[in-house]
């Protein structure tokens, strides 16, 4: 019998991630305390969670309070304290110091941070705080997106990691991936490499062309630049700047925020959340860009479920459009699979987080469609790094994607 999680306290429960994470705990029938700066703000978070669950009955598992009045009352009784305040290390530390003073010595403290160093946050408190501290990275909105990253730091008690794993995989039904405590962890590191590369390409080729070429037919729910608009340019900047500053890998240049975006962000262009300014696109705007022929052919094949043939076109089409498509998509495959051994342990981990966290075709599934040997040849032709796991798969003629219950077809739109 593992640890019983009877009570969870959520800090920052009025925000999207706080309310959404709180919803996930409450939906599992765990008493969840929503805390915010004021009780009213926490109550807004509760309403938000009920709306996500489409149920007021969920509210029976949620109580609300403010930091000033309630933090000291509820933290001592919590089995898990879940921090979801703004992505600001100094601010987070203020709360961690208070939690460290108030918490029961055996309680677990987690942060939903999408990229800050878990180890540096863990050092805020005493030794017990550090041993019981880890990252639980839900993706937004957590009630819909089941992909989740678990990030212990080097000093996290292995038993704590095990207990939280059991909670997330079992009671909370998460598709859980354990990652190393490296910048942006796995999903955002791999995903934002592709997104930012697309943003860089937009300068040269135009945003509409980039999205038409690399849209949902290549294995994603939403075209890449529309995704950046949806996520918010400020959030995008925070993520890629963090990775650019703190990593130095084979795709380092891909994380450099385009100067054009930086200038626009300074002027308040933030994507969909600033509808008057828009982002790459404005809502309701029309594009006169013609869909490239290679994209048209792939969409037509996906429309009738001929995914294999769509990727035959991808692999074999000639001309600059196809070459650019291969550069970005194969770049994704190469970069994602190269994180195996660095950020995650297995191909299945990066496959799961890209499939269930980003709703993108998992890199392993793309390799299977293209063929491991053909992928190696295409990577060579595109002068992209060839990951070791891919070389091994090609040598053994093995398939990479191992989740038999997943319809791979759902990633490829017509």
């Amino acid at each position: 019998m593992g640890r019983q999680f009877r009570k969870v306290v959520v800090l920052g429960a009025n925000g999207a991630m706080g309310a959404g994470s709180g919803e996930v705990f409450a939906a599992a029938g765990i008493d969840t305390v929503f805390l915010a700066r004021t009780r009213d703000k926490a109550a807004e978070g509760k309403k938000r969670a009920e709306k996500m669950a489409k149920s007021t009955a969920l509210g029976r598992f949620i109580s609300v309070g403010s930091y000033d009045e309630d933090l000291a009352k509820v933290v001592p009784g919590a089995d898990l304290v879940f921090e979801a305040v703004s992505e600001d290390l100094a601010l987070k530390r203020v709360y961690f110091e208070k939690i460290a003073e108030l918490r029961r010595p055996d309680s677990i403290v987690a942060t939903v941070s999408s990229g800050l160093s878990i180890a540096s946050m863990a050092q805020t408190g005493d030794a017990s705080f550090a041993r019981h501290f880890l990252g639980i990275h839900f993706f937004n909105p957590p009630n819909v997106i089941v992909g989740c990253e678990l990030i212990p730091h080097a000093g996290t008690d292995p038993l704590v990691t095990e207990e939280v794993t059991e909670l997330l995989q079992g009671r909370l039904g998460r598709e859980l991936v354990r990652t190393s405590d490296t910048p942006a962890f796995c999903g955002n590191r791999v995903g934002f490499k592709v997104l930012n590369e697309c943003a860089q390409l937009a300068d040269e080729h135009g945003a509409a062309y980039v999205d038409a070429l690399l849209g949902p037919h290549t294995g994603r729910a939403m075209p890449p630049l529309a995704t950046i608009d949806f996520v918010g340019w400020d959030v995008h900047q925070a993520i890629v700047d963090n990775i650019f500053a703190h990593t130095k890998d084979e795709a380092h240049a891909a994380f450099a925020l385009p100067a054009s975006m930086k200038a626009k962000i300074a002027r308040g262009v933030l994507g969909d959340k600033t509808p008057a300014e828009g982002g790459f696109f404005k809502k309701g705007g029309k594009s006169d860009v013609k869909t490239p022929e290679v994209a048209k052919q792939m969409r037509a094949l996906n429309h009738v479920g001929r995914y294999q043939e769509a990727f035959d076109v991808f692999a074999e089409a000639t001309g600059p459009d196809a070459a650019l498509m291969r550069k970005v998509i194969l770049g994704y495959v190469s970069y994602a699979l190269n994180r195996v051994g660095e950020v995650v342990e297995r191909v299945a981990d990066v496959d799961r987080i890209m499939g269930f966290g980003f709703n993108w075709a998992p890199p392993g599934a793309l390799v299977d469609l293209i063929g491991a040997r053909r992928t190696v040849a295409l990577l060579e032709a595109a002068k992209l790094p060839i990951p070791r796991v891919l070389v091994e798969a090609a040598e053994r003629n093995q398939r990479l994607f191992d989740a038999a219950h997943v319809d791979v077809g759902r990633f490829f739109h017509g």
């Binding site: 919803e23 939906a27 029938g29 009920e50 996500m52 669950a53 489409k54 149920s55 007021t56 009955a57 969920l58 029976r60 009630n143 819909v144 089941v146 039904g173 949902p216 969409r299 996906n302 429309h303 009738v304 479920g305 001929r306 219950h405 997943v406 319809d407 077809g409 759902r410 490829f412 739109h413 017509g414």
Partner: protein
């Protein structure tokens, strides 16, 4: 049965998908189900001798008829394959199964591919509700009626209330059980949705009344889905089993079937059953027919049931019609935990139609695939431990066409 019919397995698409949002044609659904079914059974396309497709209303939802012909498009080896499409509203999938199994029994073919498919998210819920009305007597029961089927199955609850008494809390419990089971099924439509007994008991902006006593939580979903299943004769199954390292007695077969049709309108059904302890006597007969053919004494010889819970009232009906309780006492099986996963006779471990989803023409085939998975120990987190014999109940219309299968090793 004269010649036994074996089930070699199959494939279900993820019922949470929205194929319209994916920009897909209905043929993509058929293709994915069939390629998945062939891959998971290890049966090659050239080994399939006949194909049957169950579908309710692709002409309305997808402006596409003649679905059998799409099988030929899946694999060059299917060139010339005899195919057909079957329709009996929500029982379409079972009718396709009956046709395929009859052909194997008759010795016409050694193997058959059965596909159930429905693409429903092509239209708004209101328009879809109107299309579903064609499964009733449209002019008399559905024309100009918003969401006719919840109202018809609400009437089924009303009839129970009139004859025996009915508490809505028992219907709510049925919903909560199906949702809970669905959380364990990686193909279930609602596997990530929130549901609780409290929620199902309540009625507010998030759980509105749809018609009569039927609330949102009492309803199955609008679902896109396709399922493929391979049936085979003993000769084929014997060779196939050897290839897979199995013995023939490890391969489930259709032990029995029942198939009955009641009058189309709900009022005529009720009129006909006056004085009968069973509200839908033809459904009861289909069940006893299947039990008789399978040599099964009663429901307690089963390890589980996949039933047609298009609404909570239809599962409530199935409980007493299968004989888990005396007529009118289905609530006892709900209260005593008999139908829960881990209970004495679990109903819908998959989540059924309410939790798993209800792509109308695919449902009967999905139920039989789940019966196959259960009786071969392959149902994963929703496995009924040690299951050897399962039954399915698939209903078209307001209890009009009933098909039952008993499956076992």
């Amino acid at each position: 049965m004269t010649r036994p019919v074996y089930i070699l397995g199959g494939y279900q698409t993820d019922f949470a998908r929205n194929w319209t949002k994916e920009g897909k044609h209905i043929s993509a659904m058929i293709r994915e189900a069939v390629t998945g079914g062939l891959a998971s059974t290890g049966v090659e396309a050239r080994e399939i001798e006949v194909g049957h497709v169950g579908n309710f209303a692709a002409e309305l939802y997808a402006m596409q008829g003649h679905l059998g012909a799409f099988l030929v498009d899946v694999d060059p080896a299917f060139g010339g394959l005899p195919t057909g499409r079957h329709e009996a509203a929500c029982a379409s999938g079972s009718i396709a199964l009956l046709a395929a199994s009859a052909e194997i029994e008759a010795g016409r073919y050694e193997s058959a591919l059965v596909v159930g498919v429905e693409q429903m998210k092509t239209v708004s819920p209101a328009v879809g509700g109107d299309y579903l009305g064609t499964a009733a007597w449209y002019e008399r029961e559905a024309k100009g009626v918003e969401f006719p089927f919840p109202k018809l199955f609400g009437k089924l609850g009303d009839e129970y209330e009139k004859r025996y008494g009915l508490k809505d809390e028992h219907l709510a419990a049925i919903s909560a059980i199906n949702y809970e089971n669905a959380r364990k099924n990686p193909k279930a439509q609602t596997r990530t949705w929130y549901m609780s007994n409290d929620h199902a008991c309540g009625s507010d902006q998030y759980n509105a009344v749809i018609g009569g006593r039927i609330k949102v939580s009492d309803c199955s979903q609008v679902t896109d889905g396709a399922v493929a299943l391979v049936l085979a004769s003993e000769a084929f199954a014997t060779k196939w089993a050897a290839r897979r390292g199995l013995t023939l007695d490890q391969v489930p077969r259709l032990l029995g079937w029942g198939h009955r049709t009641a009058p189309l309108t709900f009022d005529a059904k009720v009129e006909e059953s006056r004085g009968n302890p069973f509200i839908l006597p033809h459904t009861r007969r289909a069940i006893t027919d299947a039990f008789g053919r399978a040599g099964v004494a009663d429901c307690w010889a089963l390890d589980g049931i996949e039933t047609h819970d298009c609404f909570t009232t239809s599962e409530y009906m199935a409980i007493d019609h299968f004989g888990l309780t005396a007529p009118g006492e289905s609530w006892k099986a709900v209260e005593e935990g008999v139908i829960a996963l881990g209970g004495k006779l679990p109903i819908n471990p998959s989540g059924g139609l309410i939790g798993g989803g209800h792509p109308v023409g695919a449902t009967g085939v999905r139920q039989l695939l789940d019966a196959y998975l259960q009786t071969t120990g392959q149902a994963g987190a929703y496995q009924v431990e040690g299951a050897r014999r399962f039954a399915t109940l698939n209903i078209g219309g307001s209890g009009t066409t009933t098909c039952v299968f008993v499956v076992g090793t």
